[in-house]
Amino acid sequence: MKNTIKNIALTAAMAIAGATVQGQSLTGYFMNNLPNTNIYNPAFNPKCKVYVSIYDIYAGAGNSGFAIKNMYKHVPEDDKYIVDLDQIYSSLAKKNYLFAEQNVQLFNFGFRIGEGYAHAGLSLRGFQSVSYPKDLLKLKDGTYFDEESKIDLGGLGVRANLYYQYSFGYSWEFSDKITFGAAIKRLKGIADVRTKKFDLVMTTDDDMYDVSLKSDVELQFSTGADIEFEYDEKGMIKDANATNMDFDDMTSDDWKKMLWKTKNGGWAMDLGMTYKFDDRLSFAASLIDFGGIKWKKYGKTLEQHGTFDFTGVDIAKYFDNLDSIGDVLTDSIAAFASPTDNSKAYTDWLNTKLYISAEYNVNKCIDLGMVFRGVWFNKGFHPSLTTSVNFRLGTATQISLSQSFINRRANVWGLGLSQQMGPIQLYFIWDQFSPMFWAMNGSDMAEKWFKNTNIGAFQTGLSIIIGRKKYYEKALFE
């Protein structure tokens, strides 16, 4: 029993295993028992008079490329598994990304004003991603191929940010059928790094294998530290130091400067509306996180542009000193690869999301929902489609089951649970239930499903909700 509970706890921890690039769970969209569904659409009105969110923690990560099952190949003669780069390569899209996202609500509350609803909150939000092109894995086969010998590493890059978000929102019923909502968000950036541009193409000629490298790279970053780079004689970065603080001996003032007294600010807004077609069918649309942060304090840009064409060494110049050829080559490569830096403010836009949904009330305890979600991220638009069935067992319990098409996979099954106990509401949401299911079910099917998982998220929260009962019709068991 003890082991079982421990294992379930471990599995629950493993459930933080992949996310959409969303910051909000796929499954939670239709969980209208939760007071903070206005994060999906500011026109969504919580079904209560007042709420105070004690905590809401969201964490997710994922890989749009391969899953566990794509990584390994069994070698029967040795009864071993080896990393299968060919399989990983064939499972990739042209552009892929690893990502993780965190959203911690430090406080959040809302209250009804007439037919409208006002809410405010403070969150700490973080996002990290590494983008990688399929051609990166092409290097497993070397640099020369029988067909076109071209490796395009364009799109390789990193993105990470950490910021505070103060949000103030309001929704109002425009008519019996239409509700509008908006939220304004003040953003305070703590740290940011992003690859603004990464173009790197390597070609190898078929005749005499001449190699050409063309690159255009721009990396921007800002932290609370004023970073200065030191370069060696070849122009390569050999060290980076903070001029306004000592990383090895940080004072409390230094931490405050970095984490709280940040001067990098920005704005974002959420817009939304709902339309009640009739008593059963309703539609909603929203645009979330439309905005960005201007990283002006200690904003830095590292750039590298160049072309390196190598057609062989002119040994006529080095007959007397063949040993120097190596140095000449490394100097040439360093001249091509060496970056320059400058202090430049820049704006980094948030991952703006678009939601379009439809909800159908089957009866007072079952809803069916479908939501299309698209995220602008990394110069691309990333869509997903989620369908869900939502059960209300009384006014206190809601269970939501969802299925999503996302990242070329349809095996994303989510589960959401919320339970009211007096004024306290506790909820858990898994966007990809496969890890929990794998932990609870020892079948091969569960294992196959988990190994085919590359995305998921977990959200949990605790809220105090006052004055909810009048907003619910009697449901199952009542």
């Binding site: 079982t4 071993k80 990393v83 070397g142 294998y209 020892g442």
Partner: protein, 371 residues
């Protein structure tokens, strides 16, 4: 209400019990447990190696006298110049003519015959015959205190390395001058004949004289051998050695393809071969099928290029040959270039002639992180 509550409770308990009972016992993946934690790479890497326009004057192996250099005359003809210095000679302290006159003596000019040390011509690494049409030897003197010294070349004796005398060349009607030159015209063509024998070294006998020597004077002669490259070559080969460290490069290579391309505008047939040496033993050849042959370009009598020769060549090192190099600890590469002029006539090597050479490689390799 109570009934509803009971139903919820029982349903919940059933759910939890079922879930707990079906929990798996181990949370391990066979893939992770039985993984050998290595990643294998297997593919081809290709890159160019050499892209060079090599003039005759660019090639200067260290084994040739270190004072060798090339120059070009106003016709474009390349001259190979060897500049050699003999040892310093201390000259006697003589009375000046004024001092002799004061003593009632008749001033006599000073004169002495000297022999140089052994001076290098060709070394062991050069084989075959290289005939120079119009070579010359020039003898110059340098003094420390500014005395004027006149020189006369008496004879030049050419030897092989073992001391065998090949030929003695004596100038006809030798003259005295501060800088004196002998060539075929002053030796009845014997100078060319001597050099055609590919001597390893020579010793020159010369006479130095002066009307006035300053006190504590020292003299050093230097000999400049000028070989204008109007040449005939018969199997003339030059060899040199390069140190190699191939273990890191070839360890994971399964196959290596070397592509070579040359465009020759030199009027010389060239054969190129290289030998892989390990523990002082020849292990393998670069070109297993025989040396890479590059035909001579067609030039006119002035050395102007009329038609170049383009040659492509590929050679493959399979796994067994690569293993042979590694197992036998190959640590040197000896390359040999053999030159041959065609039609048994002298050809001019000018500074506009060159060999444009390209060499590239494509390696098929396998690598595992476990290694």
């Amino acid at each position: 209400m109570k009934k509803d509550y009971l139903v919820k409770l029982i349903a919940g308990a059933l759910l939890i019990t079922t879930a707990l009972n079906s929990c798996r016992d181990d949370f391990e993946f066979e893939e992770f447990d039985k993984s050998d934690d290595s990643i294998a790479f297997n593919g081809k890497v290709a890159a160019p190696l050499i892209n060079s326009k090599i003039k005759f004057s660019d090639f200067k192996p260290e084994t040739i006298n270190k004072r060798l250099h090339f120059s070009t005359d106003n016709t474009g003809l390349i001259h190979m110049i060897i500049d050699q210095e003999d040892k310093v000679q201390a000259l006697p302290n003589m009375l000046t003519p004024e001092e002799m006159a004061a003593l009632g003596l008749v001033p006599q000019p000073w004169q002495k015959q000297y022999t140089t040390e052994k001076q290098d011509v060709y070394r062991d690494n050069e084989k075959g015959t290289l005939m120079i049409k119009n070579p010359s030897f020039t003898l110059n003197s340098k003094t420390m205190n500014g005395s004027k010294i006149d020189l006369q070349i008496n004879e030049i004796q050419f030897y092989k390395e073992d001391g065998t005398l090949l030929k003695t060349v004596t100038p006809v009607n030798p003259e005295y001058a501060e800088s004196v030159t002998v060539d075929n015209s002053t030796t009845n063509g014997e100078l060319s004949e001597a050099l055609d024998m590919m001597p390893d070294y020579y010793i020159m006998t010369y006479t130095a004289k002066s009307d006035e020597l300053k006190s504590n004077e020292k003299m050093r002669v230097n000999i400049v051998i000028d070989m204008p490259l109007e040449i005939k070559a018969k199997g003339f080969s030059i060899a040199d050695t390069i140190e190699l460290d191939i273990d890191d490069i070839l360890e994971n290579v399964d196959q290596l393809l070397l592509k070579s391309k040359a465009e020759n505008s030199l009027p010389i047939d060239i054969k190129f071969q290289a030998y892989f040496i390990g523990k002082e033993t020849r292990i393998d050849l670069l070109y297993a099928e025989g040396p890479w042959e590059i035909g001579a370009a067609t030039t006119d009598d002035d050395g102007k290029v009329q038609k170049t020769v383009v040659v492509n060549h590929e050679t493959t090192f399979e796994k067994n040959r690569i293993e042979g190099l590694l197992n036998n600890k190959c640590d040197k590469l000896v390359y040999e270039i053999e030159l041959e002029t065609v039609q048994d006539k002298y050809v001019k090597i000018t500074d506009i002639q060159n060999i444009f050479m390209r060499m590239s490689m494509c390696a098929e390799a396998g690598y595992s992180t476990k290694d």
